[in-house]
């Protein structure tokens, strides 16, 4: 069937409000009688709180002051475990940990008041790196500093070493990364005994905040309402922290009886909220002389920060992706997430996969070099093929052809000619060297293993009084295009115009729980539920006789209005059902880890200036297979944006730590790519519809974060002949390795 709406690029649903400056973000909202909240935070990485003094010079009686003792029920931000306090109670475990909240009608008075709260501590020993944490000389969490560990085994790795012609080892590291959404975190809360609690915020997951605030306040579920405002970027950074800031606003509102706004400025947002987990990955690989991968031992360590938050699931995704898109007859992966006394690290686009894929994709180039083989040839000989199994034993059932994908990417990048050309030119030993490198990778769509079954998501559709169709989901828009994609899917399924479908409000009192807006699950998983709910709506109208088989959008409106007049309401729901034949063993980490995978090959071309150690990315090819592309403009925008973030992670974005605190918490000295740092990003799609996704869609949002860093570092190795195995790679990092060597001068 030829689709009419899916596959097209209609105007973004909320786009008009955004280009006219009408879109309402949290800091644009102001309520009558609203006062402003601020947070007093820990100045030490770890310590016992001895006392809190309020210095003179501030009219303290005008302030609302909240401490842990004001929390009505559980002092906890509810996620996986129960260790993350909403406000420190006696002990602090990281710099910038919230201790006390202040609110006042004059927002200009708040910074002075925060500075006049003096917290006295007895400092306790702290750990700041994976290496310090794993030594367990100082225990800062549990009995061994380990939040979570996994052991994934396939085949017999110990037997593989004996068969190997060569054993290649390597160690790879990645740094923390700040999300740097342009809109900082913020929330507004209102409470009354009659109406209960309402929190508006910049957030990804309304029901995460809901769950957390129900636990914190002890209020019944129906007395807590969460509303997402227009959200100015998230990238995972507004998955868990909005529960914290929402809780803080709620506590101040409950104590004061007034609406309270907390809006972080950039410095507070960067210093206090989550970042991408730093990582260290060690590889040991058995390989034959002709490049067949026989076995691998991989050891992954993540720095999780002071509380466990989402580290277990980030580690899970890192573990499952660690083998890359290759066939491993034998593999053993051990992984651990460690506690340190930094603010908790959290979700960031890719969610552990960029870290472990960086390691395997750099390691593949190391293996190729050790074998004297070209990097593309080593990959070609080991790509996963249909019928083979992944590291978790998941059989590839789709018509996967990674070799074809790679050849197209290499052709688009003019890889072979450029590689030869750069080899020639670099031999002339000028100060500017050029290189080209690739990365091939996969990204699992949706929640891992049994995750989607546990989520048990529910989507709904209804019609408005005007007879327009309305999508009811908790999936949120924060730039990726949720509103547009879901309306396209609904319009297609209903057989009506895109303009005739609208989104319901992202408000927990109106929409059902469709799960969080994370894990590249919205188009594929939630989209499928919307598609099915839309079919239900259509069937109801057809069965009622108010709509005949052939109908226009105007007929639909009329029939929907008549149905409402006769029956009062028209609503259709759809609940998630796991595809048949899907098996996952959570204990041994074996089976169908993901319902689908997106596959990609990225190629980067770079220039390295040996005089300044500056790297420029000159060209970037991003080729991927993400199932059916539901909206080419949005999909391309997702890839380009992810590639830019990946370039930032590889070359510019360095979080400078000082005893667990981010030192460079300003846009002035934490550098993200500008218009002048971005190469032409050339995006290509191969489309292979996925049967269980909405109109064939697979996940897309996180995938482009995985490839740029290894492709760029592989290109730098080609350009310079020097192997760099850590990101970010800033000029000063490169300088330490190469600038001390005089450039070779060819005698004439």
């Amino acid at each position: 069937m030829q689709e009419k709406v899916v596959g097209k690029a209609p105007i973004r649903k909320e786009g008009l409000g955004k280009v006219c400056g009408r879109a309402q973000y949290i800091d644009d909202l102001s309520l009558p009688g609203m006062i402003y909240g601020a947070t007093v935070r820990s100045s030490v990485p770890r310590g016992r709180i001895l006392g809190i003094d309020f210095e003179p010079g501030i009219p303290w009686d005008e302030f609302v002051i909240v401490t842990a003792t004001d929390i009505p029920c559980a002092n906890e931000i509810a996620l996986i475990n129960h260790d993350w306090p909403c406000l420190a109670d006696g002990i602090v475990n990281h710099p910038e940990e919230p201790i006390l909240l202040l609110a006042h009608p004059d927002r200009h008075l708040l910074p002075k008041a925060v500075a006049a709260v003096r917290v006295r501590y007895e400092e306790l020993p702290a750990v700041f790196t994976i290496e310090e944490s794993e030594r367990v000389e100082t225990v800062v969490w549990g009995t061994d500093n380990v939040f979570k560990s996994f052991l994934l085994e396939k085949g017999d790795v110990d037997a593989a070493w004996a068969e190997a012609d060569l054993i290649v080892e390597g160690e790879y590291a990645t740094g923390a990364q700040e999300h740097l959404y342009i809109e900082n975190n913020g929330a507004i809360a209102v409470y009354s005994a009659e109406e209960g609690l309402t929190v508006w915020g910049s957030l990804q997951c309304p029901f995460y905040v809901h769950k957390s605030l129900v636990k914190l306040t002890g209020l019944p579920e129906e007395r807590v309402r969460i509303v997402q405002m227009e959200t100015g970027g998230a990238f995972g950074g507004k998955e868990d922290y909005p529960s914290m800031i929402g809780a803080h606003a709620a506590l101040l509102a409950m104590k004061s009886g007034k609406p309270v706004k907390i809006a972080y400025d950039r410095a507070e947002d960067m210093a206090a909220t989550t970042k991408r987990h730093p990582s260290r990955t060690r590889h040991r690989t058995a390989v034959t002389r002709d490049g067949k991968l026989l076995g691998a031992e991989i050891e992954i360590a993540l720095d999780g920060g002071a509380y466990s938050t989402l580290s277990a699931t980030v580690l899970s995704r890192a573990t499952i992706h660690a083998g890359g898109p290759y066939f491993w007859p034998n593999i053993r992966i051990r992984s651990r997430a460690y506690a340190t006394n930094c603010p908790p690290h959290g979700a960031f686009r890719g969610f552990g996969a960029p870290q472990s894929l960086f390691a395997i994709e750099r390691h593949m180039d190391h293996i190729a070099e050790a074998l004297g083989m070209l990097p593309e040839e080593l990959r070609r000989r080991n790509f996963l093929k249909p019928g083979q199994t992944t590291t978790t034993g998941q059989e590839i059932r789709e018509a996967l052809d990674l070799e074809k994908l790679m050849e197209r990417a290499l052709a688009e990048a003019d890889y072979y000619d450029k590689r030869a050309q750069f080899d020639r030119e670099n031999a002339a030993a000028g100060m500017k060297r050029k290189g080209i490198g690739l990365a091939s990778f996969l990204h699992g769509s949706g929640f891992t293993g049994s995750g989607e079954r546990y989520l048990n998501s529910l989507a709904a559709m209804d019609v408005t009084a005007e007879g327009r169709a309305r999508v009811l989901v908790s999936s949120t828009e924060f730039g990726q295009g949720t509103n547009t994609i879901l309306c396209q899917i609904a319009a297609e399924a209903l057989g009506i115009d895109y303009e005739a479908v609208e989104m319901g409000p992202p408000d927990t009192s109106v929409v059902p729980n469709t799960g969080p807006t994370v894990a590249s699950r919205t188009s594929m998983v939630v989209g499928k539920l919307v598609q099915s709910a839309a079919h239900g709506l259509k069937q109801t109208l057809l069965a009622s006789g108010l709509l005949s088989d052939r109908y226009t959008t105007a007929d639909f409106h009329r029939a929907a209005r008549e149905y409402l007049a006769q029956y009062g309401a028209l609503r259709s729901e759809s609940r998630y059902q796991a595809p048949p034949g899907v098996h996952w063993d959570d204990e041994h980490y074996h089976g169908e880890a993901y319902a689908a995978y997106a596959w990609a090959v990225y190629v980067a071309e770079v220039t390295v200036d040996l005089a300044t150690c500056a790297v420029t990315v000159d060209d970037f090819v991003a080729l991927q297979e993400v199932g059916r592309v539901l909206n080419p403009v949005l999909a391309t925008g997702q890839i380009e944006g992810g590639v830019a973030q990946g370039i930032g992670w590889a070359l510019y974005e360095k979080v400078v730590w000082n005893r667990g605190r981010m030192q460079n918490n300003q846009m002035t000295n934490y550098i993200i790519p500008t218009t002048q740092d971005i190469p032409p990003i050339r995006v290509f799609f191969e489309e292979q519809p996925f049967g269980d996704g909405a109109y064939g869609a697979k996940g897309i949002g996180e995938l482009p974060m995985d490839g740029p860093a290894p492709a760029i570092l592989n290109a730098i190795a080609h350009a310079t002949g020097v192997q760099f195995d850590a990101v970010p790679l800033l000029p000063e990092d490169m300088f330490r390795r190469i600038a001390v060597r005089e450039p070779e001068v060819v005698a004439t």
Partner: protein, 160 residues
């Protein structure tokens, strides 16, 4: 320091505010005049989300004290166009996917309008240079470059 009265012409209307001379133009627009289209991203002149035109020059309104804006003409995103009559750059950003989360968009649109006024036919390098003070974290800028090129041709059509 007592509040003083300041007069500005904002999007064509003369507006008067009573505030401290060091109040940021950004806050005067957002809080005193309730023109919340102009956004704050960093508060230190790095990100350009608060870009507005002051007497036709592109400025970061977070760095401009209102005393300095006394008597000037200010144009914000709200003055570019509206739902009924969009500015060419607004239409182009909509059509090309130049706006994702929308937070850099108002500043980016004002900066684009400024660029096209100075240089109606910018090539890609001129676009990159003209927008290098406006950070976007969503798009990777490529949709934005395309939108600026589209705006050039839309503006051409409007003139024709």
């Amino acid at each position: 320091m007592n509040p003083q009265r300041y007069r500005l012409r904002v999007n064509g209307d003369v507006r008067t505010v009573e505030t401290h001379g060091m109040a940021r133009l950004l806050d005067v627009l957002r809080f005193d005049l309730r023109l919340t289209g102009t956004k704050e991203g960093c508060g230190e002149g790095e990100c350009g989300a608060c870009s507005v035109l002051m007497n036709g020059d592109l400025v970061n309104s977070c760095l401009v004290p209102v005393a300095q804006a006394e008597g000037t003409t200010i144009e914000t995103v709200e003055g570019l166009g509206n739902d009924e009559r969009l500015h060419a750059v607004q239409r182009a950003f909509l059509e090309c996917g130049g706006a994702q989360c929308g937070m850099c968009t108002p500043g980016m649109l004002v900066a684009t309008a400024h660029l096209l006024k100075k240089n109606p036919q910018p090539d890609l390098e001129a676009i990159r240079e003209g927008l290098n003070g406006n950070l976007c974290r969503c798009t990777g800028y490529t949709r934005i470059f395309e939108a600026v090129e589209r705006a050039v041709s839309l503006a051409g059509e409007e003139r024709a």
